[in-house]
């Protein structure tokens, strides 16, 4: 009897958790289709707020910034993190686990600390050299920084899952270092690289705090725009943006999962 009660209790707990996670999201998505200008009463289904979004220059520019930031930072992180993951694999006997720890450490810090530190650093460099004035450039650098460890780990674990003799077979079958990259490593890594890209993309779109501190006047991303807009009062337009972001992140996360599960094409 007590076991049954326990199971029921756990089930209730589970449904409560899901409700707290997903109900607010569902409400946001629902009200993004509300025809009335209210966040309390749902009148009719309408795409009014989505149309309004399309006409808002500021939002479109923020959307463009978010997309540009996510794509460019993910691509850079893919190259740098990929090389790091390969290096960790090549020298796996030397116990380089601490390397990943060192890279991870700033991520465990509160984002706000990391964001402020990055900002101070960029401002300092900017004062000395005139480079790195706050804007998309500094944001890309900051995003790449927190994307790298994820990419490196995904690439590393793909390599570890491979038969080490494959690397030797490629050398044995006359592949030059360049040919090994093009004809063996990249095709073998393709699913892992796709997964890493979409994960990095999601992380970048998700980020608000670090972006906020490293952004310049012209480089507001969607989360930064929302933050600014909300201080003036919640508009149903925000619901529409939020719904679109939920969709984008869900799709990217799903693609990341699909590719990470696929072993070879």
């Amino acid at each position: 009897m007590t076991k049954r009660t326990l199971h029921r209790g756990l089930a209730v707990f589970w449904w409560l958790t899901l409700a707290f996670l997903y109900l607010p999201l569902a409400v946001v998505v629902l009200f993004s289709f509300n025809s009335a200008n209210s966040s309390a009463r749902f009148a009719d289904f309408s795409l009014r707020w989505y149309h309004r979004l399309m006409g808002n220059e500021e939002i479109l520019s923020a959307f463009g910034n978010s997309l540009m930031l996510a794509v460019v930072s993910s691509l850079i992180a893919l190259v740098v993190g990929g090389v790091l993951g390969y290096g960790m694999y090549r020298h796996r006997r030397r116990r380089l686990g601490w390397l990943i720890l060192v890279i991870y450490l700033p991520l465990v810090l509160p984002d706000i600390v990391f964001g402020i530190a990055e900002m101070a650093f960029f401002v300092q460099i900017n004062e000395w050299t005139g480079w790195l004035s706050p804007g998309l450039g500094t944001m890309i650098i900051a995003h790449v920084t927190f994307q790298i460890p994820f990419v490196a780990l995904i690439v590393y674990s793909r390599f570890v899952g491979l038969d080490p003799a494959l690397f030797e077979a490629a050398r044995d079958l006359y592949a030059t270092p360049r040919q090994r990259l093009v004809h063996f490593m990249l095709p073998t890594l393709k699913p892992a690289l796709m997964a890493a890209f979409f994960l990095s993309f999601t992380l970048s779109v998700d980020d608000f705090v670090i972006s906020f501190f490293t952004a310049g006047p012209e480089s507001a991303t969607l989360p930064i725009y929302i933050w600014g807009a909300i201080r003036k009062g919640v508009s149903p337009e925000i619901n529409a943006i939020a719904a679109l972001m939920i969709a984008a992140v869900a799709i990217a996360a799903m693609l990341s999962l699909v590719f990470s599960r696929r072993r070879s094409p």
């Binding site: 003799a165 030797e168 077979a169 044995d172 006359y174 030059t176 040919q179 063996f184 070879s264």
Partner: protein, 376 residues
């Protein structure tokens, strides 16, 4: 090549259409000899993998590196492939020094123990990989792949995906992938060890057939002495990073140079010589006359050279014994005999004669020419 014990079981060229292909290939290919001088290899500070290996492998030979795990046979093979660099020593293939040549510029190919087929490529693309890396045009690659597929009789395997293949099929694809490159030397790293006994025997025969048709130099690594004896023209037995003995299978089996080689080749009947008077050797078994005993400290008696006579019989090289154990194996029977306070293994073929029972008193006899001594 004439020494090989196994020439009879391999197909002879001539009757088979594939023989034409092999004749064509032979004009492109030349078997190469291998010379190793003073090869040393050490891993970390205290692990000596190779401790000065000098070895010459003849052109067109099926040569086996035999030894227990950790004896250095795999390290030696990897040095031949270029996957490992020796700390000291020189390596030449076909008279050309290749000690410093990286693996992708060596005309040496390897069949890996795990087969190492590329999972992202089809079987055909796996087979063509080496040719593609060398820049052969697609049409020629395809022709060569079809040729090797006919030669190894791969049939429709060529159009499959790698994950659709069984272990035996993978093994043959891995062999074909290395052979299609027509290397001077083919290296095989325990290629049959992952297969079950039946398939293994079948592929042993196939490997021999391929090697004899192509006349290519094969260097084969195994820890299985039976496999080494079946396959090889010559065997090198390794232990602790150095070569113990090099010779034809019969030589290594019948005249092992030391206790290690003898034990590794499966011999149990080794007895310390306590006293020696000319050709009369005294061991724990008693005193035996040998024809040409050599001056080793151990006496080797091969179980198959022993004869068992019923009852107690007096005579030269006759030893009284009691049957402690009998394993009946159909074609032959194995005996564990108590002789004095030691035991002796005997193997008797089953010619329909009386096979002594456990507890029976027998007399063991051995011919003086079958007694060999060796060093510890």
């Amino acid at each position: 090549m004439s020494e090989t014990m196994t020439a009879d079981i391999a197909d002879r060229p001539g009757s088979d259409p594939a023989a034409e292909n092999s004749a064509r290939s032979e004009t492109r290919r030349q078997a190469s000899s291998i010379e190793m001088q003073g090869l040393h290899k050490r891993f970390g500070h205290d692990t000596v993998a190779l401790d000065g290996v000098d070895l010459t492998i003849r052109a067109g030979e099926f040569f086996t590196l035999l030894g227990p795990s950790g004896c250095g046979k795999t390290t030696l093979l990897r040095i031949l492939a270029g996957l490992e660099a020796p700390d000291a020593g020189a390596l030449a293939v076909g008279g050309r020094d290749i000690t410093e040549v990286p693996p992708h510029r060596r005309s040496v190919n390897t069949v890996f123990q795990s087969y190492a087929l590329f999972p992202h490529l089809s079987v055909r693309d796996n087979l063509a990989f080496g040719l593609k890396m060398r820049g052969l045009p697609a049409a020629e690659r395809n022709a060569r792949v079809d040729e090797i597929a006919g030669f190894i009789q791969l049939g429709d395997l060529v159009e499959r995906r790698v994950d659709q293949l069984s272990g035996g099929q993978r093994q043959r694809i891995a062999l074909a992938r290395a052979l299609v490159c027509e290397p001077d030397v083919l290296l095989l790293d325990e290629p049959l060890s992952a297969l079950d006994a039946g398939l293994r025997g079948q592929l042993q025969v196939e490997l021999l057939r391929v090697q004899q048709r192509l006349g290519m130099t094969f260097v084969f690594v195994t820890h299985d002495q039976d496999e080494a004896m079946v396959m090889s023209d010559r065997i090198a037995v390794l232990n602790g990073g150095s070569i113990q003995q090099v010779g034809a299978p019969r030589e290594v089996y019948e005249r092992p140079v030391n206790g290690f080689v003898a034990r590794f080749m499966g011999h149990d009947n080794l007895f310390a010589i306590r006293a020696r008077d000319g050709r009369r050797l005294t061991t724990a078994l008693g005193t035996l006359d040998a024809e040409d005993p050599g001056d080793g400290a151990l006496l080797l008696i091969r179980p198959e050279t022993l004869d068992l006579l019923p009852g107690a019989v007096e005579g030269p090289n006759h030893l009284p014994a009691t049957v402690a154990e009998r394993l009946y194996r159909g074609s032959h029977a194995e005996f564990r005999l108590a002789v004095g306070d030691t035991t002796l293994q005997a193997m008797v073929s089953n010619r329909g004669r009386h096979l002594p029972e456990v507890g029976e008193t027998v007399t063991v006899t051995v011919a003086p020419e079958d007694l060999v001594t060796l060093s510890e």
